[in-house]
Symmetry: C2
Subunit: 366 residues, 2 copies
């Protein structure tokens, strides 16, 4: 089912109960909502047939296609008090494009299913469409949206599936790292993790109900003003998509995108390849110093954000010695499998397993 | 991001608050949930690389692939009081496979993103996986799940994206119907619509809150016992997937799957092709008679269910005169564009625009 289908009977049966004059998906209806979204979506060069039939048709010139899917859900994945609609669309595209790039493929197309509460302003969906378009234009020119689905849910939900073309190359898997390879990264480390930590601490207020913290749009705007790079990296990350192909052409032996934290993601390459990823303590410290240079507020937590902060969607890859291409920074090497899957300066790094949003933060100096 | 990713930190931070010994996604955690689901998912013959890396790789031997996406959300799309988990998985597969089939393509692969409330029993996800597997085995042997995403939401959500191979053929679009073509259907008409109407009327009880009807599992079981074919068609429809290719090979000029009702879907072919779809009053009555033969309870509403009932995922196609293949039943012809996009016995059919769940129903005779 594609965007043209009238799958949302509910949209036409209900009207907004808010009483004000904000146009909502319920008050304008599904077809009109689609009419507003459509012109904003990016076109895909690879679309042989775009939206409007039961399915789209996408070119796959090398006889294979790469596919990845990822859901973003209001609550666990984003807060409307922290993210603008444009940023939601951007991030949904970026996180999926990064997975395609991490295979060494060129992103070609996306399909996007959106479920929105009935009282969602149409402008929110327009903003999401704009974000999808701008993210594709910035990170993967030529990639676009070939289809989708519009539905309703109590939680705003974006389900994006992205496709890529390997252009005749072998895919770069997680399993190909070899002892002696260099370990290198392209893109940012730690910004997005620092950003969400800060939003939890200073972009939320105490909730009377259960001691939980409640995201607060006004407070978040202040955080955004004081720490623009960190918040931007969290709500609308820029991933070095085109460097995925550069890495593949340079002979990368393994690659993934850093979505859950450098150490955790490196441990996945280690497990898949049967090796240990040995980060250099000095080079990790240099990454932390870079992060402090971007925002001094991260202070003594810079190393932690570099090692355990997720969602920057940097590309982490291993290359034969001397083959690291421009755009990647060496941060370690591949060693024989040892006791620990990942070491830093020869020592184990104990991943904390998640963020403590109330932990120390030198925010006052930032 | 694929199934192996630990994207669900929340799953590990929270535990079930129910206090009983039901294993929930929160209590067993994401990785263990995936371990339970994985062996149950169907394998895809076309998978060159399955789950476990940043993306999957699927064969597209003719240099193109067909893609469609559809979300199913607890509340607007299904009720847990009416559907078993196995049926949710089955229906999510069937509705997407039908869209692929309606292009004249052979379904090859699916990606499946599931968001479940934290207190969802793991057995629900296992049931969904079993339903996906059994639906693929029954309707599209060789098609399977190549990847997915697991997340959490307040509403159980299934986002399925399905792929197909055109095997060198031209796709069958909605726009190719020509005056003089025969109009034919494969699969069932009206059962699923009758089933959901019945579930609304007899599978729900009055809610004190706001006059709305509340789905009731015990009542629904009684409906299911008395009207098995209708309920089954609604909660786990069987679409004639393989007949999509048969239609394409026979020279179908237009095709879609009937998801929103025969008249409404026929009007889409009419609009895309610039023609009128002229159903035969006698042949529509024969379809209504078939429906009454399956369940006499539909009584005098049989014609309405045939014409406006959705979700059976029958295939509606147009063929050059004399070219209708086995498996399809002729129910009309293609006429020059007239005042109405769809006629029945030369008369307009005014689509009611949705179900009235409280309308008359001869249920007592069924």
């Amino acid at each position: 089912m594609q965007f043209v289908e009238a799958s949302l009977t509910g949209y036409r049966l209900k009207v907004s109960e808010s009483g004000d004059d904000v146009e909502t998906v319920a008050s304008v209806g599904e077809l009109e909502t689609l009419r507003r979204i459509f012109p904003r979506l990016p076109r895909a060069d690879a679309a042989l047939l775009g939206p409007g039939d039961d399915a789209a048709i996408v070119a796959a010139p090398d006889g294979r296609f790469v596919v990845t899917t990822d859901m973003m859900i209001q609550g666990p994945d984003f807060r409307l008090a922290w993210s603008l609609p444009h940023e939601l669309g951007w991030k949904a595209a970026a996180s999926n494009l990064a997975d395609v790039a991490a295979m060494g493929a060129r992103p070609t197309a996306l399909v996007v299913a959106i479920a929105a509460p009935l009282d969602t302003p149409v402008s929110v969906l327009e903003g999401i469409a704009d974000g999808l378009r701008d993210a594709c234009a910035a990170m993967a020119p030529g990639a676009g949206v070939v289809g989708g689905d519009l539905s309703t849910s109590s939680a705003l939900t974006l389900a994006v599936t992205a496709f890529g073309d390997l252009e005749g190359r072998a895919a770069v898997l997680r399993s190909g790292a070899r002892v002696g390879d260099e370990v290198a990264v392209a893109g940012r480390l730690g910004l997005a993790g620092a950003g969400v930590s800060l939003l939890y601490r200073d972009g939320s207020r105490d909730s009377d109900a259960d001691g939980a913290r409640e995201p607060d749009a006004r407070l978040a705007r202040a955080v955004r003003r004081d720490h623009p790079a960190l918040v931007q990296a969290q709500v609308a990350p820029t991933s070095p998509i085109s460097l995925g192909i550069v890495a593949a052409l340079a002979g990368a032996t393994a690659m993934l995108d850093v979505s859950d934290g450098l150490v955790l993601d490196a441990s996945r390459i280690a497990a898949a390849s049967g090796v240990t990823i040995a980060f250099s303590a000095e080079l990790i410290e240099a990454e932390a110093e870079t992060l402090r240079g971007i925002d001094a507020g991260v202070g003594r937590r810079a190393r932690e954000f570099v090692l355990a902060g997720g969602e920057d969607h940097a590309l982490l890859a291993t290359f034969p010695a001397g083959a690291v291409p421009e755009g990647f920074r060496v941060i370690g090497s591949v060693a024989a499998a040892g006791e620990m899957p990942v070491t830093i300066g020869g020592e184990a790094y104990l991943h904390s397993g998640g963020w403590d949003p109330y932990a120390d933060w030198d925010g006052n100096s930032g």
